[in-house]
Structure formats: structure tokens, C-alpha cells
Point group: C2
Chain length 642, copies 2
């Protein structure tokens, strides 16, 4: 018998060779029907794979990220089967799951694949899926595997085999298709109830443009038709809400070839949003006892050797400028500069936790192919702060930071979010991660404990930590259900020592502070990109670049309209007047299209009564009102950020 | 007879060979006594030098910058005479006037000069000055000049002679001392009524450390004892108000070797001042119809080739970063980025004047020897804006900018200022200045006209313009009378064309806008440095990093003190509590020393009456007051920035 430990700590006994799926069935048939794969001792396995020893087990469904990626990877195999049946002789390279679906790279010889082919493939795949063919895993010797692909004449798989060890090679088969694959896979093709092939692209073999160009087919699949429909609707909506499209239309930002790729020029309307966000951050941080600082964007090489950015982070940094025999680097993070401010004065425990905040501008090198609108850029304005605290203060500070996240999420109507605790990868110690194995484990345990104690939902991922400590990435979902990785919260046990930061503790002894790096609003670039989609450009009143438009029905009322405008401006409301000689209907339509929250219609009646007729974006006519009371209501709504 | 045109346009006739001094005497004996030199056809001459042709004449007194520099340069000669009489065999290099006085570099052989020597020299100089020896100008052939210094054995002057043309060489003599010198000089040594030798330094010959180190003696002189006394008092006061000393004491800023020289790290208290200044600028600019933008700190080489920063401004820029085969530069000015925002959308005359503002951060390369506290730095936060306007709008926009300057001066209590109109130097066209001789003259005339029309006091200086157009430098004087060059206002006829900027004019034709570059508050670095001296660190309430300190008389009143603190914080007043177990007298003294504007004393009486006892920095006890009314008064004072 073997002992299986479930996530709630319960331990159950099963005979050796029981599969996760069988264990699920032993709990409930309904549960078993949802099981896609299983995490066995932290490794994702086929749900059907026999477990031979004691193990910890987490059953994975569509709702787990690993469940989704297993599902999509299995669909890639299904697509390959369909391709092979329609285009015999095709050779396959690799077919991984990606962020939203999967792809497979293949060599179709001289054949060009068409949209029509995709539709044919979809039909074939649905037909094969309906057969509920099981995904069958077999271990195979390297010699037999080579023989198999030599017979098939697939030089790509033979290339992959070259780098694999005998004894570690597995094949997966479903229906008539067999692939060299490490797995895992879903139990059978019947799980795939809905699918869509989304795109055809060219991809050089191994990403090298000197190699042959292969055909890459992208697709996505779901466990029900309903989910596919929702996804397609979301894609459609996301297209309308594309931040690049809205960003241009609304005068939010621009880029310029002579300035450089990934370097955002914020136009007046975007700058208004930036300033409102900074105001929110400043108010929130001031109330939470933060102090603001301002630091330069460059520093000498020696600073980054001290911090460890050189070499651990070098590939993300701009190359140096050489001046007077010294190398200067653009900063890719604000932390080293803040540490220098901590170090500028002798510090006592009485000053701790010391919280230094800056909307700092950092420069990071992203490959030009990776750049994307506001989402992937080279210049980032970061909602940064560093909290220097004692070990005893850590848990409380960490909780306060989490609460700040939640406060922001509420303001922006972000209902769905998840914290992802990113840990170090022991194999990369001294390469990607500071070589302090013991401190890594201690700090990770401390963060995990703080998360558990504060009842924050989180998942753990290995190998995604910052180079100086564990990191919490916060993923949020926009109003239309798209996922964004936004903010981070990091714990740093390394830099305090590297910078020889010290405070005098209660025992009058020097002690090194722990450092929390946090950026709840992420960067202006990514956050405003997110908000554009989230609100479809219809910003709440406090964030809207233009808050009120005054619409005189004709030139006769222009003078009164001007006094209305003046009153609005004096109340610090962002307002303008539509002084075109257009019909009022057109003025209203244009203002709606420009996504201005409020319109004030000014005609004979309003002028005589010294009133304004109020229309609200998306809500229509709200009737006539005294200007003063309207302004008062607006001011309250702006102040509350509701 | 020759015709002499005076500054007011009056023309007088004199016989050929009349000197400026004689002309002055013909006007008034009182005037003549003040004449130090004269500007003849724009060139500064000895007042005693005969004028042979028709000329425009401006008589120069101590109050003219050229008057002062002539006075100080003449004192350098007087010092040389004294040195020679006390240390025979001394050899001289050069002895120019500088910002505040003069120096002379000399080779004293093995002799080390001491403070005591300086006192001896001062006595000697006073004695020689009293002789009222005239400064006598003689033209001399190159051969005779060489002979003279060969006889004297002065290889330094012989080196100078090498680079001079025969026919252009003049000697100046006073008393027993003769020097190779272009002049001009004051009429006689009797003008020098008070002097002080201020400093001894080493200086490599020709500034090259491979050469011999010469002795440099600094001094300053005045036409009256009273002015010297005032100057020494001002120096004493300036030392106490030194922004580097106050900046450290008050936690305003720091620098760090690992970050780099001239790169300011703004500490929390400095950042508060920065944010208050930015708030002032934003409010003022918003009211004046400016739009804010945010731009990155780097751009590609091609942008700066378009703008002309490369090559015209290259020596002030950081070296490039090479990335993907492209050179990126740190921006030394914000203008090119703003031009790109102008160019990002089609523009109509209806949008003009378009005013784009940004507190932009620029990087400029200053020699490390030139760096000085906050005054000369390598990273500058600039109160920048660019106004794109038509030629017709220019005068009005220019006046509005001037008015903004004056508004700021009033807020900061800057009573003394002067505008310096800096023009191009025709000899440097195509080198330091865009090669557009006609446009230079036109634009300069336009600016001069606008200055005259707005009755702004200004002086003109040749060869100090920006590379793209004429510039107005604004010089201001601090409360203790020290001069600072602060802000600039520039007119740019070149970059609009270089960037192909266009708007559609009323005639529906494309037209290039004129551009005004302006920065009334200069840079945070220099302006805060100025303010530290101006206020001696005792900032007005609205700017003070800490506005109120709550001083409980003993721990018994701590709880009430805390509620007072909370009320202050809720009213957005920067306040803290002095919770040390110190006597109230010491708490008050320490708070005075920390330059906090208000103290609230909290004791039995105050607690029982729910009041606070108010003390104001420098004014002492103001009596007890209800907390609410105190807060209300403070809020008003802060809002009014009074």
C-alpha cells in the first residue's frame, strides 16, 4: 500500500500503481470527470499514470494553470493527428501550450496552408476528439525511438532525440498519432469539446533565420462550447478595447521612430491619467507612513556590482556609457538608489520601518520583437517603494502592503486577482539567483507564512523569483476577463548585506534590515494599458482626461456657456466647450464617442434659469440642475474616486 | 570734429582725440568722477583713450558689469605691482577679472606664499593705490615687447607674445609695474579705495597638470570701504547659508560616490520641496493654458542630428549607449521630445498657441572640477515648457511668459532681478550657432521689441545665445544680495523647420510655428539651492518640509498631543510630535534650530481647554488658540503661499 497526502493534509492509503484518476474516483465520480492531470510530489503527471510510492497529490482541473496547459498541449497533439491525416508526410518540430492556447511547428514541404485548411482541420479534430481516444504513455529506448522516426523520415524529431538520455524517453499516442513527448496529457481526447484554430504564422526552425521556415498553426480549445464562445466574444471585445487603438484615438500616448522603440511619449491626456494615478499613490502612501524621494536615472557600474544587477540582471539592462574612464548605466530598478538614501544617515530602530517611495523611471532592455504597445516597453514609470524593516516587523509590513493592493483593486473594480509566489530555482543558484541557499529557504518560508496568515489566495511557482529574494507577482483580470501580470511585492534578504545597510537596534547593536520591494500599481505603462481595456476607454470621472463638456445649443448661448466653463475650471474640473456650429444632436453624439463622462447642455431655458441640463455618458439625460449643486456632486465623486 | 552718439540717441560733437573721460566731464564733473571705462562702438575702452572717429558711446560706472570687471582687472595689475615690490624676480602668467573679483597666476620660484604675506600685500596695495598712479596704455612692436620680457626673464609672457600679432600689442603701466595687456583699465589706481585678498590656490600653467604649478592669488576690490564691508558681511552670511551645509543639516539632499558626482539623491525633505514647487508650477501653468506631457530620458542619435544638438551641443552631452547597432543618448534638453509630441497629430491654428509643459529631467556633462553642490550638477529637473505659436501670437505669448516670471518672483520675495538678452556671435555661425544669419537678426529684433514694449529692464550680451535662437537669461539676487543665474526664456526659429513641424493656418496653408522655450523656475537643483540661501533654510510655511511640531510638556499630555497631531495630519499639514522625555525649553530650542515654522505647546491648561499654545519660528509665543481656528489659519496661509 502507498500513502497519498492530499492538499488539506488528509492521508489516504491505496494499492501501489493506483492512478490519480482512480484516486479521484474513490473520492467522487463527479470530481473524477473534471480531472485533467495531477501534481504528484510537485511534478505534473498524466492523471492515468500509476503512482508507485508514497506521494503528495494535487488533482488538477481546467481551473488550474497546469490543468489548462496540459489540456492545450494535448490539443496540439490532436491537431497534429488531424494534420497528418489530411497532409500525409508532414514532419513535426515542437507543439507547446502557450499563454492562451497552443501551437505546433511543422514542415509541410512546399504546401501553403490556408484559412480554408484550418476550417477543415477543425472539423477533423472535432471528429477525432469525439472518439475519446486515450493518450497512452510508453517508455521507449533511445535506439527504438530513433528507429521509429528514421522509419517515419522525420529529421526534426531525430534532432530532438539527439539531446535526450536513454531511459528518459517517452512516446505518447492517441488514435493513429504517436509523438515523442515528455507529457503530461489529459486522459482522452473526449475532454476536448470545443476548439478553434486561430492563426497561421511562419517560424524559423529553432528561431534561427538561417534555418528553414516552418509553418506554425495556433489554436485554442476548451472543455465546453460555452467557454469557447465566451473566449471568442472576449477576443472580439478585447479587439475593440485594444489599448493601442484607444491610446491613439484618445490622445493617450504615441511613439516615434527617431526617439526609439518601446519609449513612450505621453500625450496630454495620458499625462492627466498619470498624474491622477500618482496623486492616488501619494495620498495612499502618505497615509501609510511612506516618505517620498527623487533619484537620478543613472549610476556608476560599481553601484550595480554592489547590488548584483551586474551580472545577475545585466541582460535586461541598457549598455553602459563610458565617461572619464567610468561606466555609467541607466537604472533598471530604483532599489540601489534608495539603499543609498537609507545609508546617507545613521539609522536607528526608532525610524524603522522606513518606507521610501518614488514613481521612479527605469530602463530595461526588451528585444524589439517583444515590444508591444504599453505592455512591453523599454522605459517604465514604476510605482516603487522600498520598506526597510526588522525581522519582527516583517509580517505586519507585508500584510499592510497586501492591504494596499486590495484597496487599489477595490478602487479600480478589479474583482479577480491571484497572488503568485515566485521562488528561486536551486539549480540556478549563483547564476540567476544570489548563492545563499539557506537564506532563500528561510525567506521563502517567512513569506509563505505571512500569506497563509493573511488568508491571501496564492499559488507557488519555482524559478521565477527576483535575483535577491522571493517575489509575489499579482495577476489581475480585466472587466472582459483578460489576464494581466501587474504588480510585484518582493522580499530581499540579500541587498541589505551587500550594501552594508545597518540600523542600531534596541540593544544598541548594528543590524541589517530586511527590505520589501513593492509596486502595487505596477508601471504607468502596463497599468494604463490595462485600464484602457478594463474601462474600454470610458474612465471613471476622477481619471477621465476630460470630465465635462459644455454644449451650447447655439452661438446665442456661448456667453453663458463660457461662464459655466469658468465655474467648472475654478472648481478644478477638467472641462471644455464645444464651440462648433453643429446641431446639438451631433455635439452630443461626438462627446459620447469621445468618452467624456458628463455633458452640460446650454440653451434658452438653462440660460434663463441659470441652470445646466446634465447628460451622463451611457446614462443619458439626468435633467436640469443648479450649476453649483452639480459642481458639488462632481467634486464629491472625484474625491471619493467612485 | 567727430560725432558722439549717446545711449539716449543724443549726438554731440567733439574734436578728434577727445577721451570718454573728457566727454563725461563736459556733461558733469560729478558724472566724470564715477567713470571707470567706456563702451565705444560696443567695445570696452579705457576712459582715457582718445576717440578719433564718429562713435556710439556708453559711459561705464561701477554699476555696469563691464565697469566692475575693468575695475577688478586693474586691481590685479595693482596686486602684481605690490607682489613685484615685495618678491622681486616673480614671473607672471595671466590675471583676469572673475565673477566676484580677480586673480593673478604667478611663478614665485620656491617660495610658499602665506596668509601673512597676503596681509602685507594688502597694505602695500593700499599704499600704491593712494598714489593715484594713472594706467598708461602704449602700443609696442612685437620685437620690442619680446625684448622687454627677455630682459625681465619672464618666459610666461614670452609664451603669450608668441600668439600675438605685431601691430596689436599693447603694454599697460602704472607706477613701477608694466604688463603685457589688451586692457581696458580704470583711469588711475586712486579709484581702488578698498580691497581684500581672499584666497591662495595652486593652478597648473595653462590648466595642464603636466605643467608647473603656479601660485594663484584671489582678491576683490571696491570703490569704497563701505562696499567692501558689505561684501565681507555678505560672504560671512552666505557661509552660514551655504546650501551644501543646510542641505545636509536639513536632510534635503545627498550625493554618493557609487552613484556618481553631480547626481543628486533627493532625500524626503528635499522631495517635499520639489513636490511643492511642482504643484505651484502645475497650478500656474494650468491656469495659463499649458498641457502637461511626460517623455523618456533617452532617444536615438538621429533625433539629435535632426535637432542639431549633435554637433552643436555635443560637448555638454553624455556619451552614447550602443544598442542593436543604434546609438542612444541621454537627453540634455526636453525640446526634441516635445517637438515629437507636437508632430504626433495634425495641428491647426485653432490649437495654437500649443503649450507643452514637463518637469523634465535632463542630463548634461559638466567637468568634474566644475561640479558644485546643487548649483552645478549633471542631472537637472527642469521647469520646462515649449510654446508653439504663430508669428502674430509671439509678442503676446512672450509677455505672458514674462508675467509668469514676475508672479513667481513675488511669491518667493525676489525683489532684484535683471533680464539678460543673449544674442548670437556672427563669428561662430555654423559652429556654435545655426547658420541662418538673417533669421538670427530678425528674431533678435523681435525679442528686443517685445522686451521694450513690456518695459522689462534688460541688458544685451553677444555670444551667449542658445544654438537655435536668442535667449533671455534671468539673473536674480538672494536676500543677502548674492547673484544667481536662474531661468531662461528662449526663442527658437530653427527647430520648427528642422523637425518639419507644421500647422494649418487660417488660409489652410501649412506653416511652421515659432517655438518659445521657457523655464521660469529653472531647475529644482539650482532653484532649491538658491532658496536654501535666500531663506537661510527657514522656508515659508507652504514650502517647509515640516510645518508644525507638537511639543507635549510631559508624557501625561501625550494622548492629547496625539489627537492634535491626527487633526493636523487630516488637514494635510506636515506635522510631527516631539515625544522625547526632554524639558519643554529644550524641545522649543531644538525645534527652532530645526527651522520648523510652528510649535504647539501642549500642557495641562491646553489639554483641559482643548486648545493649543502657538509659537512661531522667530516670533515667539502667540498665545493659546482653538485647534480648529489654528488649522484654518494655517491652511489659508499655505494656500496663499504667503
Amino acid at each position: 500500500m502507498i500513502k497519498i497526502t492530499l492538499p488539506d493534509g488528509a492521508v489516504r492509503e491505496y494499492r501501489e500503481g493506483t492512478s490519480s484518476l482512480e484516486i479521484a474516483k474513490s473520492i467522487s465520480e463527479g470530481l473524477a470527470r473534471k480531472i485533467i492531470a495531477a501534481s504528484v510530489n510537485g511534478e505534473v503527471w498524466d492523471a492515468t499514470r500509476p503512482i508507485q510510492t508514497d506521494a503528495s497529490l494535487k488533482l488538477l482541473t481546467w481551473n488550474d494553470p497546469e490543468g489548462k496547459s496540459t489540456f492545450w498541449h494535448s490539443t496540439a497533439h490532436l491537431m497534429a493527428e488531424a494534420v497528418e491525416s489530411i497532409f500525409p508526410g508532414v514532419k513535426f518540430w515542437v507543439g507547446p501550450a502557450v499563454e492562451n492556447g497552443f501551437y505546433y511547428d511543422m514542415d509541410l514541404g512546399d504546401r501553403q496552408i490556408t484559412e480554408e485548411d484550418l476550417r477543415k482541420l477543425e472539423v477533423k479534430m472535432a471528429e477525432l476528439a469525439a472518439k475519446q481516444n486515450p493518450y497512452i504513455r510508453t517508455s521507449i529506448s533511445k535506439a527504438d525511438a530513433i528507429h521509429f522516426f528514421q522509419e517515419k523520415g522525420d529529421e526534426y524529431k531525430l534532432d530532438l532525440l539527439e539531446h535526450l538520455q536513454d531511459g528518459e524517453i517517452t512516446f505518447y499516442s492517441q488514435g493513429s498519432f504517436t509523438d515523442l513527448c515528455r507529457g503530461p496529457h489529459i486522459p482522452d481526447t473526449g475532454f476536448i469539446k470545443a476548439l478553434k484554430l486561430t492563426n497561421i504564422a511562419g517560424a524559423y526552425w529553432k528561431g534561427d533565420e538561417k534555418n528553414k521556415q516552418l509553418t506554425r498553426i495556433y489554436g485554442v480549445s476548451f472543455p465546453s462550447k460555452k467557454e469557447l464562445d465566451e473566449y471568442l466574444l472576449m477576443l472580439e471585445e478585447a479587439k475593440k478595447r485594444d489599448h493601442r487603438k484607444l491610446g491613439k484615438e484618445m490622445g493617450i500616448y504615441t511613439t516615434d521612430d527617431e526617439v526609439g522603440q518601446g519609449l513612450i511619449l505621453w500625450m496630454p491626456n495620458g499625462t492627466i491619467i498619470i498624474e491622477e494615478l500618482e496623486k492616488l499613490a501619494k495620498e495612499t502612501e502618505q497615509a501609510a507612513g511612506y516618505h517620498r524621494v527623487v533619484t537620478p536615472h543613472i549610476a556608476k557600474e560599481s553601484l550595480y556590482l554592489t547590488s548584483g544587477h551586474l551580472p545577475y540582471y545585466q541582460e535586461s539592462m541598457y549598455p553602459p556609457m563610458e565617461l572619464d574612464g567610468t561606466k555609467y548605466y541607466l537604472k533598471s530598478m530604483n532599489c540601489p538608489h534608495h539603499h543609498k538614501i537609507f545609508a546617507a544617515e545613521p539609522r536607528s530602530y526608532k525610524e524603522l520601518p522606513l518606507r521610501l517611495a518614488e514613481y521612479g523611471t527605469c530602463y530595461r532592455y526588451e528585444q524589439s520583437g517583444e515590444l508591444f504597445g504599453l505592455m512591453r516597453v523599454r522605459c517604465l514609470h514604476m510605482n516603487d517603494a522600498h520598506i526597510y524593516c526588522s525581522k519582527e516587523d516583517f509580517a505586519q509590513e507585508f500584510r499592510s502592503v497586501n492591504e494596499m493592493y486590495l484597496k487599489y483593486f477595490k478602487i479600480f473594480g478589479i474583482d479577480k486577482y491571484v497572488m503568485r509566489l515566485s521562488l528561486h530555482d536551486p539549480a540556478n543558484l549563483g547564476k540567476k539567483y544570489i548563492n545563499e541557499p539557506q537564506l532563500w529557504l528561510e525567506t521563502e518560508a517567512m513569506v509563505r507564512k505571512a500569506l497563509l496568515e493573511s488568508n491571501t489566495p496564492f499559488v507557488e511557482v519555482t524559478g521565477e523569483g527576483a535575483f535577491y529574494g522571493p517575489k509575489i507577482d499579482v495577476q489581475i483580470w480585466s472587466a472582459i476577463g483578460r489576464e494581466f501580470t501587474l504588480a510585484t511585492n518582493q522580499v530581499d534578504f540579500a541587498q541589505g548585506r551587500r550594501f552594508k545597510l545597518e540600523y542600531t537596534n534596541r540593544e544598541n547593536q548594528p543590524e541589517t534590515p530586511l527590505i520589501i520591494h513593492r509596486a502595487p500599481l505596477g508601471t504607468h505603462e502596463r497599468f494604463i494599458g490595462f485600464l484602457l481595456e478594463h474601462y474600454a476607454g470610458k474612465f471613471p470621472l476622477w481619471l477621465a482626461p476630460q470630465q465635462v463638456k459644455v454644449l451650447p445649443i447655439s452661438d446665442k448661448y456661448m456667453e453663458y456657456a463660457q461662464t459655466v466653463l469658468e465655474s467648472l475650471k475654478n472648481a478644478d474640473i477638467r472641462a471644455a466647450i464645444d464651440d462648433r456650429s453643429e446641431k446639438i444632436g451631433k455635439k452630443i453624439r461626438d462627446t459620447e464617442l469621445a468618452r467624456v463622462p458628463f455633458m452640460l447642455i446650454i440653451g434658452e431655458k438653462e440660460m434663463d434659469a441659470k441652470q445646466v441640463s446634465v447628460r451622463r455618458q451611457g446614462k443619458g439625460d439626468l435633467g436640469a440642475q443648479e450649476l453649483d449643486s452639480f459642481i458639488k456632486e462632481l467634486k464629491t465623486e472625484i474625491k471619493l474616486r467612485s
